[in-house]
Structures are given as structure tokens and as C-alpha cells.
């Protein structure tokens, strides 16, 4: 019985870390720019294909993990300069335009790589025993990696000058500009970082799921729930959202049939949004 409980706890932790990882890029762009990036799911997917590409060239998964944020960050660079920049202060238009960007990325990947599935092998097969429970190494690693990325992001935002610039720009664009902060550049940095994080998440998730052009869509709604349930614009909120959705999913998945569990978590998210539109952790 303790083994079951322990397994469920680790499962919940693992799922929460996965959801946080996936939602990170979305949260950064939403939180810092107020932009809902509907292309997030497809940037995430592009990260997976970056691994497929890098693995194909070098034969090493970890090169893919390095390449993904660079490649997807570059896509983000183009999208910000070409699209998002021109729609400032028109949030719904940004939403619609990034919907288009997502379609273009998805269909572009289909043109480049074909519509079939690609495989990314688990680079660290095998399990580690945690007490009575054997748990896959790679999933445990993901928990640690997610925690490190969160810590790194927090340090960057709260301890460095670029982070300070971004947060200042987020609060008051004009005053920030009057103090020498280039708001256009700061926005670009925020978007590229968000996109790179989406790519990194895709790369890290690629061994766990099926790599295909439509894979991102599955995660989009879930990532939104994590971001808004916790509260936009706060890393703490993101962690909270991930734990609530991930934990809720694991718990419901254990007791209920998967379809009902799925619906139950969505209902929970809607109810939270209804009563705390700003998120739980604000």
C-alpha cells in the first residue's frame, strides 16, 4: 500500500514537472508580454523535430537538446519581428495571428519532414529504486531538469540586469524607455526566451511521447490551464498550476476512468478560473 501511495506521489510529481516544463514558454510570453501565443504548441513540436534533426546528424540525443532552444528561439525571433511586434496592444489580434503562425509551423514541418511519426529513443532507459518503487531514470531526471530550469529562469529574471529590464518594461513601458530600456528589444528577448523554452520542453519531452507534426495540439489546452490556474506572470503560480493540474490528473486518473478523469480536471480548471480569474497564486 505504501508503495502505491509513493508511486502516485512520484507520478504526480513527474506529471506536474512535465506540465510545468511544457507551460514555461507560454507563461514567460504571457507573463512578460501579455501575449497569448497560440503557436506555443507548434514551437514545442518544432523542438521535437530539432532533436530528430540533430540526432540524425550527430546521432546523439543531447545535441538535440542543445540545438532545440537555438533553432526554436530563432523561429521565435522571426515571429516576434515579423508578426507579434506589429500587434502590440491588440491582444485578440495577436491571438489570431499566432494561431496562423502555428498552422504555418505545423504544415511547414509536414513539408520538410513528412507527415509520418519520428522516433526519439529514451536516452536513459532503466529505472532507479526509490524505496519500494522502481521509477524510470529519465522521468526522475526531468523533474530535476524542470526544477533547474525554473531556478535558472528565476535567477535570470530576478538577479540579472536583463531580467530587471524585462520586468520594468512589463510594468511601465514608457518609463522604462525613458530610463534607457529599449522596449522593442526587451520584448524581442522575452519572446525569443519563451520560444526557446518551448523548444527545450519539446526536446526534453520527445523521448516520452510520439513525435509527429500534430503532437503539440494535445498539450495546448493543458498548458493554458496550468498557466491561468496558477496565475499569469508569476513563476510560483506556474508551479502551483502545474502541481494542481498534474496532481489532480494523477489522483483522478487513479480513481476514475481516464475519460472522466480528463473531464474532471478541466471542470476543476474552469471553476478555479471562474472564482479566481487572476489565478490561485496571486
Amino acid at each position: 500500500m505504501t508503495a502505491t501511495v509513493l508511486t502516485q506521489i512520484v507520478n504526480g510529481l513527474s506529471l506536474a514537472s512535465i506540465l510545468i516544463l511544457i507551460a514555461l514558454g507560454l507563461a514567460v510570453i504571457f507573463g512578460l508580454l501579455g501575449v497569448i501565443n497560440l503557436a506555443h504548441a507548434d514551437l514545442f513540436m518544432a523542438g521535437m523535430y530539432a532533436v530528430v534533426l540533430a540526432q540524425g546528424v550527430t546521432g546523439n540525443f543531447w545535441f538535440g537538446v542543445l540545438a532545440a532552444p537555438l533553432i526554436v528561439g530563432a523561429i521565435g525571433f522571426v515571429v516576434e519581428l515579423g508578426v507579434v511586434r506589429w500587434l502590440r496592444a491588440r491582444p485578440l489580434d495577436t491571438l489570431l495571428a499566432t494561431l496562423g503562425v502555428g498552422i504555418v509551423i505545423r504544415e511547414g514541418v509536414k513539408l520538410l519532414f513528412g507527415a509520418g511519426y519520428r522516433q526519439v529513443a529514451n536516452p536513459l532507459p532503466g529505472s532507479i529504486a526509490i524505496g519500494p518503487v522502481a521509477y524510470p531514470i529519465y522521468r526522475l531526471l526531468l523533474i530535476a531538469v524542470t526544477a533547474s530550469i525554473l531556478a535558472g529562469l528565476a535567477a535570470w529574471l530576478y538577479r540579472t540586469a536583463p531580467g530587471l529590464r524585462l520586468r520594468a518594461m512589463l510594468q511601465d513601458r514608457e518609463t522604462a524607455a525613458a530610463y534607457g530600456i529599449d522596449p522593442e528589444r526587451a520584448s524581442l528577448v522575452a519572446f525569443v526566451v519563451g520560444a526557446a523554452l518551448a523548444g527545450l520542453a519539446g526536446a526534453l519531452m520527445s523521448p516520452l511521447v510520439t513525435v509527429g507534426p500534430d503532437v503539440g495540439i494535445i498539450y495546448l489546452a493543458r498548458a493554458f490551464m496550468v498557466v491561468v490556474v496558477g496565475g499569469v506572470g508569476s513563476l510560483l503560480g506556474l508551479v502551483g498550476g502545474g502541481v494542481i493540474i498534474g496532481g489532480g490528473d494523477t489522483l483522478a486518473g487513479y480513481f476514475l476512468n481516464p475519460t472522466i478523469a480528463n473531464a474532471a480536471v478541466l471542470v476543476l480548471a474552469v471553476v478555479i478560473l471562474r472564482f479566481r480569474p487572476g489565478g490561485l497564486f496571486r
Binding site: L92, D93, L96, V101, I103, K110, L111, V270, P277
Partner: protein, 340 residues
């Protein structure tokens, strides 16, 4: 949190408000041409195309209701297809239990009430609270609600037919001996309902209520300051849009089946694309966008497939960036150019 953002070149609904002043011929002409085309279509097109057009009219009505929601309440639903699905399932389930004329009319009535009622229920929770849930949050909530409904429809197969959808329910009948079979009768019904709803909306939006809606939409802060209850307005518009979407779904029934795909993200995304590319804030733009794009897709997707979607994506970006009022905006620019 209500985000009010309009395309920069014109305030929402401005075209409508101005239209009264502009010389009558120019505002009536496009509508007359549209009307003539809709009436003439069954006489010039093949049966296959009339059947197709019937479906696309229902899509057009759905896009029109989404445009109503966006233009008058500043809300974009990412799950609007779900209301269409609700209407379609409602009529199908009614006809399964009560075939014939009675079931048909009851079903249509129920479809409108279920669509409108569900929107009212959800809207009362979202818009009337201390903190209104609007803007992108409304989009996310509707996305989740559609996903929940889809899971319910898929999971409750004894009632809804599950992933299989529903088949073999009775054919709706408008009057004894006038079943909605073939292509002409369903087309006639769909076309009539579309025209009536469009005319009704045009009329309603020019009434004093419609104008206060417009005022509220254009400056929500000031409107709230002078005591216009924005939350209740949004609730009203959302319920109306939900009811129209429900009717549109019911009109889809002569196709002969309903499936849970109607609740999917893909379908709802399509509705948004139709509205944006057709032209926001005009009602007729989304309607024409739905019909035009659906026809193009049917004609081209066999040969283009991936390229077709790629083009839709590019077009979506370009239209939002440089032509926020879509095809209707382009048309307006052309007519203005001709006139001057």
C-alpha cells in the same frame, strides 16, 4: 479584464453606424446581390453543390454568431463549435424520440434554447461576478468547456452514440408531407433562416439597445462609469450568439448524422478563421468567409492538402497584420474607391 481591442483602422461596428447616413443605394446593393445569389443558387448549381451549400450556410450562420459575440461583446470563443454541436445533437436526439413535424419544431426550439441557455448559464458565471472573466480568459474557458462537452459526448455513448455519432434518426419534417430530404428543402430552410436571422440582427443592432451595446463595446470603462451594465450586455450577446449557433447546428441535421468532431478544437478553429478572413465586425463577413473558404477547401484540398492549410495559415497572419477587417474590409475599400 475585458480586453477591448479593435482593428486600428476603424472602431467596431463603425461601418454599421455610418451606414445610415451613407446614400441608401450603396448599402442596399450588396445585400440585394447576396439575396439574389442565395435565391438563384439552387437553380444554377448542381444538386451536389446545393447540398454542400446547405452545410456551408449553417457554417456561415455559426461564423456570423461568433462575429456578433466578438464585435458586440469583445469576446472571442475558442469553443464556438460546441454550441453548434449542442444544437445538432439536440435536434437529432429529439427526432430519435419524437419523429415527425412535432419533433422537428420541438427540436429546433430545444436546439435554440439549449444553445442559448447553456451560454446564459456559463455567461452568468463569467460576466456577472465581481471580477468579469473576459478577453483571453474567456477564450480559454470556452476552449475548456468545448473539450469537456466533447469528452461527455464521447463518454456517454448510450445516450449520444459516443465517438460513432448518431445516425438513422427520423428525417425532420416541416409540415406533413414536407420532409427535409433531398437537397432543395433543406437548402430552402437553411437559406430562409439565415436571411431572417441576418435581417433580425441588423435590425436589433440598430435599435437603441444595439447602439448602447456598441457604446459599451467601444469604451467599456466609460460605459461602466455612466452605469451601463457591461456584464449583463455581454451575457445577453453571448446568449444570443449561443442560441443562433444552436439553430445553425440544428439546420445541419439534414446531412443525416452528427459526430463529436463538432465539439473539437479543429472545427472551432475553423469558425474563427472563417470570421477573421471574411471580415470581423460586419456579420456578413464571417458568413461569406465560411461559405467561400469551405467551397475553396472542398475544391482544392484534394490536390493541395498540406499546401492548402499552409496558405490558410499565411493568409490568417497577413489579414490580421495588414487587413484586420478581412475580405469585407477589402470589398468596402473597393466600393469606396469606385464611388470616389
Amino acid at each position: 479584464m475585458t480586453s477591448v481591442d479593435a482593428p486600428p483602422d476603424a472602431p467596431p461596428g463603425a461601418a454599421l453606424a455610418k451606414q445610415r447616413r451613407i446614400n441608401l443605394g450603396w448599402s442596399v446593393l450588396p445585400n440585394a446581390v447576396m439575396l439574389a445569389l442565395i435565391v438563384a443558387f439552387p437553380f444554377i448549381a448542381s444538386d451536389y453543390q446545393v447540398g454542400l451549400m446547405t452545410q456551408f450556410l449553417t457554417f456561415g450562420l455559426l461564423a456570423m454568431s461568433l462575429d456578433l459575440l466578438g464585435d458586440r461583446a469583445g469576446l472571442v470563443s475558442f469553443g464556438h463549435g460546441a454550441w453548434f454541436g449542442l444544437g445538432a445533437y439536440t435536434l437529432a436526439l429529439t427526432l430519435e424520440r419524437l419523429p415527425g413535424v412535432g419533433g422537428t419544431y420541438l427540436g429546433f426550439l430545444l436546439a435554440a434554447s439549449v444553445g442559448g441557455g447553456f451560454a446564459a448559464l456559463l455567461g452568468s458565471q463569467l460576466f456577472l461576478g465581481r471580477q468579469r472573466v473576459g478577453g483571453v480568459y474567456f477564450g480559454i474557458v470556452t476552449l475548456a468547456v468545448a473539450a469537456i462537452l466533447q469528452l461527455v459526448v464521447m463518454g456517454w455513448s448510450s445516450f449520444t452514440g459516443g465517438s460513432n455519432g448518431l445516425y438513422g434518426f427520423a428525417t425532420p419534417e416541416l409540415a406533413p408531407g414536407l420532409p427535409l430530404t433531398g437537397t432543395q428543402a433543406p437548402y430552402g430552410l437553411a437559406a430562409t433562416v439565415c436571411i431572417l436571422i441576418y435581417a433580425g440582427l441588423k435590425w436589433a443592432l440598430r435599435s437603441s439597445l444595439g447602439l448602447s451595446l456598441l457604446a459599451a463595446r467601444q469604451n467599456s470603462l466609460r460605459a461602466e462609469g455612466i452605469g451601463i451594465p457591461i456584464g449583463r450586455f455581454q451575457l445577453l450577446v453571448f446568449s444570443a450568439a449561443g442560441a443562433i449557433a444552436g439553430i445553425a447546428g440544428a439546420l445541419y441535421i439534414p446531412v443525416g448524422f452528427v459526430s463529436p468532431d463538432l465539439f473539437g478544437l479543429t472545427f472551432s478553429t475553423y469558425v474563427i478563421v472563417w470570421m477573421v478572413l471574411g471580415g470581423r465586425g460586419t456579420l456578413i463577413g464571417g458568413f461569406l468567409g465560411a461559405i467561400g473558404l469551405s467551397f475553396l477547401e472542398t475544391a482544392l484540398s484534394g490536390s493541395f492538402v498540406t499546401l492548402w492549410l499552409l496558405m490558410v495559415g499565411v493568409l490568417l497572419i497577413v489579414v490580421v497584420l495588414v487587413w484586420p477587417r478581412g475580405a469585407m474590409g477589402a470589398l468596402g475599400a473597393v466600393t469606396r474607391a469606385i464611388r470616389t
